[in-house]
């Protein structure tokens, strides 16, 4: 049984530089890196030091408070360096890869008569548990938690998002295995979401789960939207979320016992010379790939999409959990009286600029803020982009004043930063909404633990 939800609130940001199904080959490099900064809510404790020989799937670091949350090495080789920042904060673990990868093998998982504990142990040991995000807080899931439900997100609707069917091609078997593993982890429902506006993905349609179908605008592809439409999260409840694109990695870990985080990464954006899809292991150095395929001069390189992605440099590595690379121009130029002009060619989500006459235009957007930061002035603006039963501005205010009780009352458990990304784009006052929500969740979590 599949239920269809129509998402009317939101906006599809149309950008130039979409990727066709062109294979750009494989991204290879001799150095790899894994950074704790990709895992919100983790206090990293190192399991290796410079010089340690690791196999692919060996733990590099784990969470100090929840040691079962392990982050593993995508390749085998020698730990070249542990990069540290101020106060010895761990910034990245760099690995010099072997020519031939050897894998740490945790054994194939026996599904017959398997218990939750056994599955949890396997998730943890192989490192694929890190792909599961836990709500509230939006942090890596601890295996001792008992989620009320698990949401598998089969929709990619962000700007320049890749074609999920193409990215999952040929991985049907491991997808089914992953779902079997996930089902062991909850007594509740496992949901799988589908995009009604795209061709159905057989590998996901055939899964033994509760299917949800969404049509309409972005953020239909945010799992927060999907949860809000089915059963909003209450205080004290836990829900796990996972992107469908990560299922093959999980499935492989349960089939073979090995950690192989290999993805078909979509490379898109107006600054990309060769748009398309590249195959890559997570953590791979992007230096040579970017210099060959992207105009890196005065360019914003983003791991992820323009809404929620992280800014990377041209000598950075493929971030954990990211299967999209976007390159757009930096907007570090001024514009003469830009706020008065009619703005026929300006991107805006409302009609204050005359570009509303051309709703289907694709924009070559840059990173300019188009104005200075201001206090909250305009009201009713964020609601248009957040299809949830919450009052966004009131929630943000409660976070800003640090009122935990108010935050709870106003529904902070139902949101993670990405749910505010579109509202952040549209914000007239140019306020950092995602950062505010992240800070709020961190404060709340500190208070609760």
């Amino acid at each position: 049984m599949s239920q269809t939800f129509k998402i009317r609130k939101g906006h599809d940001i149309k950008l130039v530089g979409g990727a066709p199904k062109t294979d750009l080959g494989r991204i290879t490099a001799s150095t790899y890196a894994v950074t704790p900064l990709d895992f919100p809510g983790i206090t990293p404790k190192l399991a290796v030091k410079a010089g340690t020989q690791v196999k692919a799937g060996d733990t590099l670091f784990f969470d100090k408070d929840r040691p079962e949350v392990k982050i593993c090495s995508p390749v085998s080789g020698e730990v070249a360096e542990v990069k540290r920042g101020a106060k010895r904060k761990i910034l990245a673990v760099l690995i010099l890869a072997d020519a031939e990868t050897t894998y740490a093998n945790h054994g194939a998982f026996g599904f017959s008569g398997a218990t939750r504990e056994a599955a949890a142990a396997h998730f943890s040991a192989t490192g694929v548990g890190a792909f599961i995000t836990s709500r509230p807080y939006g942090v890596a899931a601890g295996m001792s938690e008992t989620p009320r439900a698990i949401f598998v997100n089969g929709i990619q609707s962000g700007p320049l998002a890749g074609d999920l069917a193409y990215q999952l091609e040929g991985k049907e078997k491991s997808i089914a295995t992953a779902l079997k593993a996930l089902k062991l982890m909850t007594e509740g429902t496992v949901y799988v979401s589908h995009d009604a506006d795209k061709a159905p993905i057989e590998a996901l349609q055939s899964l033994d789960a509760t299917h949800l179908t969404f049509s309409g605008k972005h953020p239909k592809g945010l799992v927060g939207t999907q949860i809000a439409q089915t059963a909003p999260l209450n205080k004290g409840e836990i829900v796990w979320t996972i992107n469908a694109i990560d299922l093959p990695t999980i499935g492989a870990a349960f089939e073979t016992g090995e950690y192989r985080p290999e993805y078909r990464v979509v490379v898109a954006g107006s600054k990309v010379m060769n748009v398309g899809y590249a195959t890559a292991l997570q953590g791979v150095s992007l230096t040579s790939f970017l210099s060959d395929n992207v105009h890196t001069d005065n360019t914003r390189l983003i791991a992820g999409d323009v809404l929620t992605g992280t800014k990377i440099e041209k000598d950075d590595f493929l971030s954990f959990g990211r299967t999209q690379l976007t390159a757009i121009p930096e907007g570090n130029t001024t514009e003469f009286f830009g706020w008065v002009l009619p703005g026929f060619s300006k991107f805006s989500t409302n009609r204050a600029f005359w570009s509303w006459l051309f709703p289907n235009r694709e924009y070559d957007l840059d990173t300019n803020m188009h104005g200075e930061e201001r206090a909250f002035v305009v009201t009713g603006e964020y609601e248009k982009f957040i299809p949830m039963d919450i009052f966004p501005q009131q929630l943000l205010r409660s976070i800003l004043i640090g009122d935990i009780e108010k935050m709870e009352q106003l529904g902070i458990y139902e949101v993670v930063p990405e749910d505010f990304a579109l509202a952040e784009v549209a914000c007239t006052s140019k306020l950092p909404l995602q950062e505010i929500v992240r800070n709020g969740l961190n404060d709340l979590r500190k208070e609760m633990i």
């Binding site: 909003p232 001024t334 990173t367 206090a375 007239t428």
Partner: protein, 403 residues
């Protein structure tokens, strides 16, 4: 545009932190960011941003006000020459109106921005755009003959007490422009009401006022009928003016060919501005529509149970008089002082319109009930929002209890 940029670049060291003219930094920054949208790029969160900013929002409101403002300018001249029975062309009227209106606008901006810039410098933040609109609203809701110094003091009071003490743009409880008008109304009542101030009657040539000239407003005249009962012969001459042929006929009131505060008279052009704001997504249709309905309901009730001519006036006609339409489109919709939730806006707008007509009719000493009603609802708006938000909280709590 390079040379303009160069001017800013060259003068910036003077006004920066250690510069000699640091107090001018907010002014420098304000003018520079007005001339050039800054080159700031997204540093956290989303990497692309909407082209809209507060400057755009505010300038959209100003565009919406321009028709009513120009009309008001022309109307000043028309009423002035009309009072002396002189013939005047469109150009005469506009020139005369401009000579009266421009000093008001300049004084308001100078006084208000002066305070804003001082606070920006003190608090080390950029000058906010809110006053761009307030500074134009204030002259539009003043009588033409009010002395400039009164406008200056009212403006300073409004910006200081109405806005800056709460923390500046975005934090204020009351609509600053209405605060200025309320201050002037209570501090200088003789200059804000009566029949001397709405039409300029100073004449260089020592001209004679025409026979039967009255400088009163429609509401001022209506107020004289209170306490006289319905159909009293004593009120006949007054009420005749509201007939189809009278000075205050429904058509004249709709078009704005009546005396009143400078920008408030033309319901037609104000409505045009309102439609523009709603279409642009800048003004809240919820507030405007519910405000109109609220006023109409109250006027309808009065009409049904009329005990004097003021109450008995046709509800639609009632709404075209005084500051009702102006308050609906430009005052009640101020996003900061209005309700902030969608449901709250409906309640807020309805009550503001409702009370506006109630105060106007029940207390003829305050012909401008709209101003007081909106200010009152500004104060009540957080309470309305509280209950709307509380309903959401209750829903959530209940869900948790049932889970």
């Amino acid at each position: 545009m390079k040379f303009v940029q160069n001017i800013f670049d060259q003068t910036r060291p003077l006004v920066e932190k250690d510069g000699k003219r640091n107090i001018l930094y907010p002014l420098h920054n304000a003018i520079e960011t007005m001339a050039f949208v800054p080159d700031h790029t997204a540093h956290s969160g989303a990497h692309v941003r909407d082209a809209i900013d507060l400057k755009r929002t505010m300038v959209t409101v100003i565009f919406a006000m321009v028709p009513a403002l120009l009309f008001g300018m022309w109307n000043i001249g028309r009423l002035h020459f009309g009072a002396f029975g002189e013939e005047s062309t469109l150009l005469d009227n506009v020139i005369f109106g401009a000579m009266k209106l421009l000093p008001l606008i300049i004084v308001t901006y100078a006084a208000g921005l002066g305070v804003e810039i001082y606070f920006s410098w003190k608090r080390n933040h950029p000058v906010n755009e809110g006053f761009l609109v307030s500074g134009l609203l204030i002259p539009m809701i003043m009588p033409v003959d009010i002395p400039l110094w009164m406008v200056a003091i009212s403006t300073i009071f409004a910006v200081l007490i109405g806005k800056e003490v709460f923390g500046g743009t975005g934090m204020n409880l009351l609509n600053p422009a209405l605060t200025a008008r309320a201050f002037a109304f209570f501090a200088y009542p003789t200059w804000m009401s009566g029949d001397k101030v709405w039409i300029n009657t100073t004449s260089a040539e020592g001209g004679q006022l025409v026979d039967g000239y009255s400088g009163a407003t429609a509401l001022g005249d209506l107020a004289t009928t209170v306490g006289q009962g319905m159909g009293n012969p004593a009120t006949e001459t007054v009420m005749a003016q509201f007939g189809p042929e009278g000075t205050y006929s429904l058509m004249n009131a709709f078009l704005g060919l009546i005396p009143g505060s400078i920008g408030e008279t033309s319901a037609a052009l104000i409505l045009l501005g309102g439609l523009f704001l709603v279409f642009k997504g800048v003004g809240s249709w919820r507030i405007m529509v519910s405000f109109f309905i609220g006023g109409f309901v109250m006027a309808g009730i009065f009409n049904a149970f009329a005990v004097n001519e003021f109450m008995g006036i046709n509800p639609l006609h009632q709404l075209m008089l005084g500051g009702f339409m102006f308050g609906m489109v430009f005052m009640a919709t101020d996003p900061v002082s209005a309700s902030q939730t969608a449901t709250g806006k409906l309640i807020y707008g309805f009550l503001a319109g409702f009370f506006g007509i109630m105060i106007r009719v029940f207390n003829p000493a305050y012909p401008e009930g709209i101003m007081l009603a909106i200010l009152f609802m500004n104060v009540m708006a957080p309470l309305i929002d509280h209950y709307v938000v509380e309903a959401n909280v209750k829903r959530r709590t209940k869900r948790l209890a049932n889970a």
